[in-house]
Amino acid sequence: MGGSNRKLTEADSFEGFQNNRYFRQLILPGVGEEGQKKLAHAKVLVVGTGGLGSPVLYYLAAAGVGTLGIVDDDRVDVTNLQRQILHWEKDLGRGKTESAGEKLRAFNSTLTYHLYPERLTEGNAETLIVNYEVVVAAVDNRETRRILNQTCYRLGTPWIDGGIREYSGTVTVYVPPRGPCYECIHRTHAARPASPIPLLGALPGVIGSIEAMEAIKLILSIGIPLTGRVLMYDAWAGRFEEFIPAENPGCAICSQAGE
């Protein structure tokens, strides 16, 4: 539809190409030309390029988010291939940000990609996050989420968290200074020893896609953000549920964020 089924030629204007490329969202209420401009000017940091990070990055690039920061210090391993669809057989042993950057540049060459082949730590979190307006967490451990939570609440940067395990996934959006924050919801959890999490690749496909959608909603200020609620996906039973997390009035992070 829209005359967009042919390849770009030199005779095509860049503007015409872009209008065709984003045609289906340019005609979508809530996006349109104004929204597309917002997306083009948006800067999103995606932390992790694995099972969740792959669909997050693909869909943010597909939508035309102008600047994407990509953080990951890992290298592509053969066990990644069943779910981390940004990385292919030819990438084995390669740095994940480099592998991701190559695919994304081929996928949407009109965007700006900043690659950070490093681990997000307490030492570099603020430097990495400060230039971005939204952070999407696609990480596999609690410690990095805690660092993201603390830093994003300190900077006032919205962040989106996704998690996966076996046949279940979860998504939540945190918009500082509003609580409850990640620490409120998960404060009772004991740290788990790192071990391979059993799952099928389609699970992070679902959860990462929801994270990307929530990021786009935040950029465009449309819809109802998934804040103050936790969405749970039960793939085994084929159902979604959501719950209202308990507030923690004494939370050291979000109870002081607005002060």
Partner: protein
Amino acid sequence: MAGVVTIKIFASLLHWAKEPQVQIPLEGPTPLQSIVEGLRIPEEEVAVVIRNGKQVKLDIEVEPGDTVSLFPVIDGG
């Protein structure tokens, strides 16, 4: 008042409970911890407890008619 409590069990907690959803007859208010113990789910594996759509702690009493969801830590990526 007698009735049933519905317990929904997610992700790795199914290693112990076997069934994703069970209904347990109750005579009245009952400690949730005893129900979880009866399902053979180790308490330390339960990270988030939801009763009727709201997050609660494990040391509550549940009543006939309640729906309780039990989640482990879902922190993979």
